[in-house]
């Protein structure tokens, strides 16, 4: 009796590019699932008796696979001369494997046994529906704790799959992609229970504790660490000091005042206090007396002497503080700001609190 090497196990390593080559060569074993973007081994082909006679085409398919992800194991068997000849010739063995022979209703199965006859059948383009056997297997399969578990008692399972279901999951081939397909079946087969609900609530509470807490802490961390005890009101001296400014001039005396400095500016008819914070990203612009503009050193925003933005990215004019007279004394109150929304949108500056008329 001659000894022949025959394929006992075939599986697909991760990395299939769904090229259809294997299914064209050996449709009995390989099933390309474009919708899942992988190729899988048909469940009935997970059986030694099924793959043995197909040895030649399986090896051919494995060699043809462009990314070499088809893996198989071979073992030596003693066979009769005629079987050996048949295997060498590539034809499907006459003694049909037990499982395949039993397979009754599954349509794909019927197709398989007829198609198996010629050495290399030219595949007609098939509609890509999921193999009913696979569907049944998926329906019976759940994944628990990373292990595949097959429910043995599901009714209406094709015999070929029944045979599989009797195997322990560990005996299934190490087909990484196949497991992924199995995992896909998980949500449909598990009803949420009260336990799941409680578990979910627990995890959520934990996540809140670990997530929201630090978030709040982070928020505090990002806030400037200053004590705002400075008096928002600043006494700026007699009014005459500012009426002597020419219109369009700027007094820089209060730029260093903490926590927020300001310029006192003279317009035609009034005196106002401009915040020194750039409305773009908060740098401090410099007053360029020769160019008659405020210019920010960070991204080049420019402001006219009255604070209107006209150059660079700053979206709004410089902000103005409340300013008023106490007798003869000019007082700037930084607790109230007047925000103009754009260079053409400066109506708030006409507020009586925003300037002192001169």
């Amino acid at each position: 009796m001659p000894t022949v090497e025959m394929v006992t196990k075939v599986w697909i390593a991760p990395g299939c590019i769904v090229c259809d080559a294997c299914e064209t060569t050996c449709p009995e074993v390989f099933h390309v699932q474009h919708e899942n973007e992988t190729c899988i081994i048909r469940p009935e082909a997970l059986d030694v008796e099924f793959t043995k006679p197909l040895t030649k085409t399986i090896i051919e398919a494995a060699q043809e696979c462009p990314v070499d992800v088809i893996k198989y194991e071979v073992a030596k068997f003693d066979v009769s001369d005629e079987v050996a000849a048949k295997i060498a010739g590539g034809a499907t063995a006459a003694p049909a494997p037990a499982t395949a022979g039993e397979a009754p209703a599954a349509a794909a199965h019927a197709a398989t046994s007829t198609k198996a006859a010629p050495a290399k059948p030219a595949e007609p383009p098939k509609p890509k529906v999921m193999d009913p056997a696979i569907q049944a297997l998926l329906a019976a399969t759940t994944v628990r704790g990373g292990h595949v578990v097959i429910d043995r008692g599901v009714a209406g399972m094709p015999d070929s799959v029944k045979h599989l279901a009797k195997l322990s999951p560990d005996q299934l081939p190490p087909d990484g992609k196949f497991q992924r397909v199995l995992e896909k079946a998980k949500p449909s087969s598990e009803e949420p229970t009260r336990r799941d609900l409680l578990l979910g609530a627990g995890w959520t509470a934990l996540a809140m504790g670990f997530g929201v807490g630090p978030l709040l802490a982070f928020n505090r961390f990002m806030a400037p660490n200053v004590l705002e005890q400075e008096d928002p009101k600043v006494r700026c001296g007699p009014l005459s000091k500012y009426t002597s400014l020419a219109p369009g001039d700027v007094n820089e005396d209060f730029k260093p005042v903490k926590p927020s400095g300001f310029w006192i500016i003279r317009e035609e008819e009034r005196i106002s206090a401009l915040s020194i914070i750039c409305t773009h990203l908060g740098c401090i612009p410099s007053w360029l007396p020769n160019d008659r503009k405020f210019k920010c050193p960070c991204h080049g925003s420019g402001f006219k002497p009255n604070g209107t933005n006209f150059e660079g990215p700053a979206p709004r004019p410089l902000e103005r503080f409340k300013i008023y007279l106490d007798g003869d004394q000019v007082i700037v109150d930084r607790s109230k700001k007047f925000l103009a929304m754009g260079p053409n949108d400066t109506a708030v500056w006409n507020d009586p609190d925003a300037s002192i008329p001169v």
Binding site: C283, H299, P313
Partner: protein
């Protein structure tokens, strides 16, 4: 040591160098105006991509290297340029320029060789390469040596060049220009064109998220694990544009060309804080509501920004409508159009969701150069400026 070098350089009498040098300098200065600088570097990149088989040949690359080094070294004779270079903060920039150049060369060299071999049907450089390494002793020793060398290098660097620590912040004495650390200068440059939350949060976030998302958008296995340009010309070009131009070149621009008041200076120009530079920026809304009607001068369209709400739409929305239409077209209509025409193949390959993500990343990447060019050429400030909603794009 640096200063003695500077003295030596200064002792070369600048007056003796004649006006030819000056003319070259002012020519380079002129080329470095951003509306030449960025397009020119982009052009260089395009040339490099097209002729990668030629310039990556070791001799040609060596020539480029020597030519650049001579140019860079000669530039140091210029006081203003040298002042920028020798700042301890800017030493990494010189390193970055050379490293970027070297890595680009290396990658494209491998690609050129591989593409050649592919054409002749020979195995690739990487084929047969066994990337397994023994952990002990090979890997651990290699890592140990690398670690020691790096530490030594950093120690020497730290001793030779003082860290640029500055006095405590003081509102009356602000560094002008105020520059971010060198590696953020590209982002700081973006801040000139966008609102802070876009340039400082959204765009960097998109860069990170985008790099993570790339492998899920582009599942083409070609070019996986081996160098090639011929098989993936478009993808590699777009990436190189994003990395080299929109990151490295912007850093170089921020380092060498941005001076006091964040004005633009040529690399050989003195940083004069009083140099006048008028940049009157206008929004799209100004163009549409004021400039256009003034130009057209027709009876039914009076220049003037809309200031009253109409049909219950607040005035600022009416005002910004042209910009909103433009941006909406760019972000939402253009992808639909492209999906039906140029990107039809891509669209069918990757499907709706991945296409949407793809367009999100691509559109934000390209709005940066678009806005820069518009700013330089037309002083365009914002497409949409709704300060009420912090929405300035």
């Amino acid at each position: 040591m640096m200063t003695t070098f500077a003295h030596i350089l200064a002792s070369v009498d600048p007056a003796q160098q004649g006006s030819a040098i000056d003319r070259i300098k002012s020519f380079v200065d002129a080329l470095c105006a951003p509306y030449y600088f960025v397009p020119l570097t982009t052009l260089l990149l395009v040339i490099a991509l097209v002729s990668y088989k030629q310039w990556t040949r070791p001799k040609a690359a060596l020539l480029v290297f020597v030519a650049f080094t001579v140019f860079y070294g000669a530039s140091m004779l210029d006081e203003d340029f040298f002042k920028i270079i020798k700042k301890p903060d800017n030493v990494p920039i010189t390193m970055m320029i050379y490293f970027t150049g070297f890595c680009t060369w290396l990658g494209f060299r491998q690609a050129a060789v591989n593409d050649d071999r592919m054409k002749r049907g020979e195995p690739l450089i990487e084929s047969g390469a066994d990337d397994k390494v023994l952990v002990w002793p090979d890997l651990v020793y290699t890592e140990l040596i690398a670690l020691v060398l790096c530490t030594a290098f950093l120690v020497v660097w730290a001793i030779l060049l003082k860290a640029p620590l500055e006095p405590p912040a003081n509102p009356t004495n602000i560094p002008n220009p105020s520059k971010a650390p060198w590696y953020f200068l590209g982002l700081q440059e973006l801040l000139v064109y966008f609102d802070p939350w876009i340039a400082g949060v959204l765009l960097p976030g998109l860069i990170i998220v985008g790099l993570i998302a790339l492998p899920y958008i582009d599942k083409n296995p070609r070019g996986n694990g081996y160098y090639t340009l011929k098989e993936r010309p478009l993808v590699i070009s777009v990436f190189m544009f994003g990395f080299v131009i929109m990151w490295c070149v912007l850093i170089v621009l921020g380092t060498f060309l941005r001076g006091p008041n964040w004005n633009l200076f040529g690399p050989y120009e003195t940083w004069d804080p009083h140099r006048p530079a008028a940049l009157l920026n206008i929004n799209v809304s100004d163009v549409f509501w004021v400039v256009l009607p003034e130009k057209l001068n027709v009876a039914w369209w009076k220049p003037g920004l809309p200031s009253e709400a109409s049909f219950g739409i607040p005035a600022f929305l009416v005002r910004e409508a042209p910009g909103i239409v433009l941006l909406g077209g760019y972000f939402f209509a253009l992808p639909v159009f492209l999906a039906k025409t140029v990107f039809r193949k891509i669209y069918t390959q990757i499907g709706l969701i991945r296409y949407a993500v793809f367009w999100l990343l691509l559109s934000w990447m390209f709005i940066v150069p678009i806005k820069m060019v518009l700013r330089w050429l037309f002083n365009m400030k914002y497409f949409v400026a709704i300060t009420e909603w912090f929405l300035n794009v």
